[in-house]
């Protein structure tokens, strides 16, 4: 699979401050790519470089194998974190204007807009001014404007902020829908659950450096701790504990279950999971046996605080 976007050794300095220190990324075609990092890590700078808003001091950015050039703006849809619209301009005119700035012909833009306005059931907003709309409504318009010109690459910076849960879901579904149709998506967010849910690839930027990049499962595999959560119904707790502690490191834990069982977290160390399972089954009925997978949240916090 080829890459829709390649960032190669990009460096950006503001005076003495280094915003990006030799950062490289590969965003595969058709992926949903989560760009993570704490505030001030350099995500926005990187995104601005991809959008040709700022120029890198050194390094190259390739879009679909080609070095970034001004015409590429029409292939990228960008929804910045700090976003807004002209307050006193009418919704329809504004959408048309922004679409034409992206290089869409007037008629085509109008046709597409009609489709999206019908889809979101907001035809009545066409002649309203943005200042008459609520924040959530304005965000919907913002989303339409971002995707209207059918970009190959969609860059969304905190896309769900400002949406209520219903509309956030609506937007999420649209994003997934677009992705299925072949749009590659870069996601920059602090909401780890949406990363967990939607992203195939992640990269983590911290203090101007890229620390992690890869397929979500690969990253998780790399961060797995070989720990299992187990539940067992037994009469001989002490015997079980003695047996377990000979091989494994164990601790008490808690998870939801319908049984009054013994709940443990077991670190396997050198041993494999079958050994654990056989010991458990000797002493009683196993009700729960799950590998503890590190969440993106765990990985994030662990990496950043290192």
């Amino acid at each position: 699979m080829s890459n829709i976007l390649e960032v190669q050794n990009v460096v950006k300095q503001y005076g003495d401050y280094t915003a990006l220190n030799n950062v490289s990324l590969q965003v595969p075609k058709g992926s949903i790519y989560g760009l993570l990092g704490p505030n001030g890590a350099g995500k926005t700078t990187l995104i601005r470089i991809i959008n040709q808003i700022t120029m890198p001091d050194s390094g190259v950015v390739l879009l679909d194998g080609e070095k970034l050039k001004p015409e590429h703006v029409q292939y990228i849809g960008y929804m910045p974190e700090e976003r807004g619209l002209y307050k006193t301009m009418k919704v329809g005119e504004q959408c048309l204007y922004l679409a034409q700035l992206k290089g869409m012909p007037y008629e085509e833009a109008k046709k597409q807009l009609k489709y999206w306005f019908e889809k979101f059931e907001i035809e009545g907003w066409w002649n309203k001014k943005i200042q008459e709309l609520s924040k959530g409504m304005a965000q919907k318009i913002q989303f339409i404007v971002t995707i209207l010109h059918q970009p190959k690459l969609l860059i969304l910076d905190e896309p769900f902020s400002g949406f209520d849960p219903v509309n956030a879901n609506l937007i999420k579904d649209e994003i997934i829908e677009l992705n299925k149709k072949g749009t590659s998506i870069i996601f920059s967010t602090h909401r780890m659950e949406s990363v967990e849910e939607m992203c195939d690839y992640i990269a983590l930027i911290h203090k101007s450096n890229k620390l992690i990049e890869g397929k979500l499962e690969d990253v998780k595999r790399q961060y797995r701790s070989n720990t299992f959560q187990v539940g067992v119904l037994t009469n001989n707790i002490e015997g079980l504990m003695v047996h377990l502690t000979q091989k494994f490191t164990i601790s008490q834990t808690n998870f939801k279950s319908l049984n009054d069982d013994l709940k443990l977290e077991v670190h396997l160390g050198q041993h494999n999971s079958n050994e654990l399972l056989s010991i458990l089954s000797q002493f009683g009925q196993v009700t729960h046996f799950v590998e503890k997978i590190p969440s993106v949240n765990d990985i994030f916090i662990q990496t950043v605080s290192k």
Partner: protein, 435 residues
């Protein structure tokens, strides 16, 4: 449609649709004409009334010398005792001229007194002093043994005839007319720069505060956006000026017909010209003034106006755009605006005070070449005839500076529009140039 023309169109429409723009466009000429008519009306009112002055001349030395005229009426109250005269004057006269009994005419120099409620006009004071002076002078002449009548006869009254090397006769007061015409153009340019420069700045700030800026510049280059803004706003401004000119002329015609201000025949003349013309008695002279005005390099003037207008406006708007990008709100902009408005004001002052005295002097010449003041000063100089090389140098410098300033402003603009929070210092602005 190209990106730039898209932006220009949007900026133009956004500006023109703005309510305050519409109100300004149609209300300003009304206000302006209303004010002019009011002032005109009031000044004719003023002239109609005759000031009543009482005179109490104890020795009867001066009372005959004060003659009634159109504006002043003198009444002799010398028959009354001074106190009663004073009371009467305070009730029914503007003031009382008190001339005490003096032993020698020479004492009149300091003893004559004018008593009134309101301070008299300077004209009145000098008129009265002139009368007293002439009485004393006559007396002095008599004492020295001169024959006053013969001296009067011997007095000559010359009038300097002005002409040019090219042979045509020129007129007094023409400098004022020339400065007025050039000044009008220069002043228009300044007003336009200040008003529309501010519009550009406000429009930049609006994009910043509404946070649409990042979306726009992910589609277009900041430079295109800035130029589009400047051009779009200037087009709106030109439209406004055109409407003002048309509506203003119409209103003047209507007002003059209604009020019978006798402007019908001479409505093409500006008030300054009217005044200058009014001083000349002969119709022939009036005709000469007309000729002189039509002889002014009008074509050069209008072409230069357009060239300087565009150059000056673009130059300053770029500054305004950069400032708008650097700050978050209009209140923060004051600190940066001052250095920009200074040269404009300086230009107007130099125009009105230096050019009128010495249109081709060093100061006027230098400031008509320096780009920041040239649009104003040069336009004031053009009616006096400016060497071609100076004109070309000045225009060349203006446009050269304009290109440099646009480049410089675009840099500040590019960085500034994405900066939020604290107001930048001059030092930081300098740093942005290197980003």
């Amino acid at each position: 449609m190209s990106i730039l023309s898209l932006i220009i169109k949007r900026e133009f429409i956004a500006k023109v649709r703005n309510k305050s723009f519409i109100v300004m466009t149609f209300l300003s000429p009304l206000l302006f004409v209303g004010m002019a008519v009011l002032v005109g009306y009031l000044s004719t009112m003023n002239k109609d009334s005759v000031t009543q002055i009482a005179i109490h001349d104890e020795a009867g030395l001066l009372k005959k010398e004060f003659k009634n005229d159109k504006y002043t009426n003198y009444t002799d109250l010398s028959a009354m005792p001074f106190k009663i005269a004073k009371d009467t004057a305070s009730k029914s006269y503007e003031g009382l001229l008190y001339i005490p009994k003096v032993t020698s005419v020479q004492d009149l120099k300091e003893k004559v007194e004018y008593i009134s409620e309101d301070s008299p006009s300077l004209d009145f004071i000098s008129d009265v002093e002139e009368v007293i002076d002439s009485v004393i002078t006559q007396e002095n002449l008599k004492v020295l043994g001169f024959d006053a009548e013969k001296i009067d006869k011997a007095k000559a009254d010359s009038s300097l005839k002005l002409s040019k090397f090219s042979g045509e006769e020129s007129l007094k007061g023409l400098n004022e007319i020339k400065v007025a015409i050039g000044g009008l153009f220069g002043y228009l340019i300044m007003m336009f720069i200040v008003i529309y420069g501010n519009f550009v700045m406000r429009s930049v700030i609006e994009e910043k505060t509404s946070r649409i800026i990042e979306i726009i510049i992910s589609s277009v280059k900041p430079y295109q956006l800035m130029m589009g803004k400047i051009i779009g706003n200037s087009l709106a401004g030109i439209l406004q000026f055109l409407i003002w000119a048309i509506v203003g002329t119409l209103l003047f015609f209507i007002a003059s017909t209604f009020l019978g201000l006798q402007m019908g025949a001479s409505s093409t003349m500006s008030p300054e010209m009217m005044e200058a013309a009014g001083n000349v008695d002969k119709v022939a002279k009036l005709q000469m003034y007309f000729n002189e005005i039509t002889n002014l390099p009008l074509v050069t003037l209008i072409i230069s106006f357009i060239i300087y207008f565009i150059g000056g406006y673009f130059l300053y708007s770029s500054f305004y755009a950069a400032i708008g990008a650097a700050v978050d709100s209009e209140t923060d902009s004051q600190q940066f605006l001052l250095p920009i408005i200074m040269p404009l004001i300086l230009g107007v002052y130099i125009g009105f005070f230096t050019v009128i005295n010495d249109p081709h002097g060093t100061i006027a010449t230098v400031f008509s070449i320096i780009p920041l003041t040239s649009p104003i000063v040069m336009l004031m100089r053009i009616p006096f005839g400016v060497p071609l090389w100076q004109l070309l140098l000045s225009i060349g410098l203006l446009y050269g500076t304009f290109i440099f300033v646009v480049w410089f402003a675009a840099k500040i603009y590019r960085v500034g529009i994405l900066m939020y929070g604290k107001k930048p210092t001059w030092k930081e602005l300098y740093k942005w140039l290197k980003y």
